[in-house]
């Protein structure tokens, strides 16, 4: 007994010293459920691969909660080294120059293996500055695509292997679906803001705001009340009145998915990361995948779609040895094996060309139809100033304004031009305040 006790005491001391030698690095994230479990698995893979550093992931709730927690912690000087921030928080993070360590700078300073050219420009472009330097490491990125019900297409006498290419086709298909009795509505959508406004603009190479969609600095203002966006919103209103389009609610549009699953609507525009959910819920029908539709009379369309999701930001003010560990960890995260594994498990986009190639080599895209559409769509063309992404302060609120004004349009109290003018007017008031705060 005594000997056992002594042995365990020795073991305890040994493990303590080992733990002391290790540098612990806090990583705050917003991935719950299965994604959270996968994230822990990835972290464990890194921790087991070496014994110098230990990444400690902590789940902090939703995206806004995680970001708020990190900001509050920074103000109290208790910040984690790594925090996962959603794409609409990019403007806020980037403006906080003293609070963050840009990823390109971190990797160079720590002498890490880092080749900017190896990343997919359509993914990392969203998180680079105007000189092309990477500010944060994309972790989970996705882009909207069209999911459609092949079984309903067949019933309506449409070719189940041809998704609509243009908005005119989409309207024509929808009318056929409704008139043939195959379904009660043509299409529904998640995210009016992200899909039907921001992505619509990028897909048609139209500006969302000035200063390269906000990449140029906090003096940027919204300009998404252009003719293409107005035409599109007016179209959505008309199609909604005709019953061809059904609104799924504000923010992520929680009611959209059930309408697609229950076979009321034949088409569903949603994040590529929703693929697993769609496949799991499409029990009585076959799912097809297509790119977002475009207006063929707009020059330059289709351009490329933009991403959503979250990235990993490095916060300043931690001890030096932690940054060495962060750089090592980012190297590990960017490796083709880890990227391909995460991408194939979650439906999020890989961030490097190597991970994409690895997936091709493994035959993943042949075995999982629809999983490549998103990648083809974001890499369709070299991103332009209008399709690189967007970066505005107070953007959580601005997205709320987009939803509110869209609801005003649907209820008939405003027309498309009036609603989008209001988005610009109200949004710019917030941007002016944001600029003043960050001077």
């Amino acid at each position: 007994m005594k000997r056992l006790f002594a042995a365990s005491a020795v073991a305890l001391i040994a493990s303590l010293t080992a733990a002391q030698a290790q540098t612990e690095i806090q990583w705050w994230h917003a991935m719950g459920g299965e994604l959270g479990a996968k994230l822990e698995e990835i972290t464990k893979g890194f921790n087991d691969s070496q014994d110098e550093f230990r990444i400690v992931p902590s789940y902090k709730g939703t995206y806004p909660e995680t970001m708020t927690a990190a900001i509050a912690a920074f103000r109290a000087q208790q910040q984690p080294a790594i925090v996962q921030v959603f794409e609409v928080g990019t403007g806020t993070m980037m403006a906080a120059k003293g609070a963050i360590v840009p990823v390109h700078q971190l990797m160079t300073e720590q002498g890490a293996n880092f080749d900017p050219a190896s990343f997919l420009p359509a993914v990392v472009g969203y998180y680079t500055d105007t000189d092309g330097n990477m500010l944060s490491l994309p972790f989970n990125s996705s882009t909207p695509i069209v999911y459609y019900n092949k079984t309903m297409f067949e019933k309506a006498g449409l070719d189940p292997n041809t998704p609509p290419k243009t908005w005119a086709e989409l309207e024509e298909f929808s009318t056929k679906i409704r008139d043939s009795g195959a379904g009660t509505c043509g299409f529904t959508t998640q995210w009016i803001s992200w899909i039907q406004t921001e992505n619509l603009s990028a897909w048609h190479n139209q500006p969302i705001g000035t200063e390269q969609n906000g990449f140029g600095g906090t003096s940027a203002r919204l300009s998404l009340n252009g003719p293409v966006q107005v035409k599109h919103w007016a179209n959505l209103k008309r199609l909604s009145d005709e019953g061809i389009f059904k609104y799924g609610g504000p923010v992520g549009g929680d009611n959209a998915a059930p309408m697609f699953y229950s076979q009321d609507c034949a088409m569903y525009m949603a994040s590529s990361a929703s693929r697993a959910g769609v496949v799991a819920n499409a029990k009585d029908f076959e799912v097809g995948y297509g790119m977002l539709p475009y207006y063929d009379d707009v020059e330059g369309a289709p351009q490329n779609s933009i991403i959503g999701g979250a990235t990993l930001w490095v916060l300043s003010g931690r001890p030096d040895e932690e940054y060495a560990g962060v750089a090592k960890f980012f190297e590990y995260l960017s490796s083709p094996e880890v990227q391909a594994d995460w991408h194939q498990f979650s439906g999020y986009l890989p961030i490097t060309q190597a991970a994409y190639d690895l997936g091709k080599q493994q035959g993943f895209y042949d075995k999982n139809p629809g999983s490549e559409v998103a990648l083809q769509q974001i890499t369709l063309n070299e991103p332009t100033e209008n399709s690189k992404g967007l970066r505005f302060g107070s953007y959580v609120q601005i997205r709320g304004i987009i939803d509110e004004e869209f609801e005003q349009l649907l209820s008939g109290s405003k027309d498309a031009q009036g609603a989008l003018d209001s988005v610009v007017g109200r949004g710019n008031a917030l941007l002016e305040e944001f600029q003043a705060q960050n001077q």
Binding site: A99, P250, S394, Q397, E407
Partner: protein
């Protein structure tokens, strides 16, 4: 009445110290911070700070969203107060008339008070959920298309019901106690004089219940304005189109989600003013003018 006099000047302060410390740490200090912050303009991380005087307050009065929120809060508070007090008075009068089973009813009616506001919100959210709820199904039969996700009125009705329901127990307890303290002889005398039950209720019971009613009025308004945050957060999150964005929720949203600390602090200072005003009304008017 015998008064205790402390010889030692220090002892009373020592005895008060724990309570004073708590008041200072949890009330005065944060309140002072809020007042200070309301005059500042700061970025989210607190890196750059500038003094802007009253401009955060000016911005509020020029903001249609804030004025809308004031209006929504007023409508919401009045509706919650009227609904929950009216309903609990009805229940209290009913229980007061029963003799043997009143304690059973009282026990059962107090239960909702133990439910956390967020849970109450979720509960009613389920009942009224347009896709899976039972109420929209019932309302559909009578020809009403319930949808609190897109209809402003429906959303407001939903949060009012959820908030009022939770407060009914509390009001009910006070009304029952108030009713029981009214001497039965008064009502009996009126009955002998030929007054009917309705006449007796309005001429005798209600006036004698006024201290309780006034107290509950203030408590309910304060409840509706400040304690219903969780109900809103769990059901509508202030939407659709700001229709249920009450002042307290807006403080949270602008500050914690929008990261606009200056405006959020200015809003909480305004709220602080409202609480102070309500408290003064309660002490000055309610406690003095209403005869117990």
């Amino acid at each position: 009445m015998k008064r205790t006099i402390f010889r030692n000047q220090l002892l009373p302060w020592l005895l008060l110290a724990p309570q004073l410390a708590i008041t200072f740490v949890f009330f005065l200090w944060p309140a002072a911070q809020a007042v200070r912050q309301s005059f500042l303009r700061q970025d989210a991380f607190g890196i750059s700070t500038q003094f802007v005087g009253l401009s955060n307050f000016k911005a509020l009065w020029n903001s249609p969203e804030y004025l809308n929120s004031l209006q929504v809060t007023a409508v919401f508070a009045v509706m919650v107060t009227v609904l929950s007090m009216g309903f609990s008075l009805l229940l209290a009068v009913a229980v007061d008339r029963t003799i043997r089973s009143s304690s059973l009813y009282t026990t059962l009616l107090v239960w909702p008070y133990a439910v956390a506001p967020a849970v109450a919100g979720i509960l009613w959210w389920f009942i009224f959920n347009p896709t899976i709820g039972i109420m929209p199904y019932v309302l559909d039969v009578v020809g009403y298309d319930w949808n609190h996700i897109s209809s402003k009125t429906d959303a407001l009705v939903l949060v009012v019901i959820a908030s009022a329901w939770k407060q009914i127990s509390y009001n009910f307890l006070f009304f029952v106690a108030g009713l029981q303290s009214i001497p039965a002889s008064l009502r009996e005398a009126a009955a002998i004089d030929g007054a009917g039950p309705v006449k007796r209720f309005f001429d005798i019971t209600l006036p004698l219940l006024s201290p309780t009613t006034f107290f509950l009025l203030v408590v309910n308004i304060v409840y509706a304005m400040f304690d219903t945050f969780a109900v809103i957060d769990a059901t509508t999150e202030g939407g659709p189109a700001q229709a249920t964005n009450i002042l307290v929720y807006k403080v949270y949203f602008d500050g914690f989600v929008g990261q606009n600390m200056g405006s959020s602090a200015a809003q909480s200072v305004v709220l602080m003013g409202i609480v102070i005003a309500l408290t003064v009304i309660q002490f000055r008017y309610v406690e003095k003018k209403v005869a117990y």
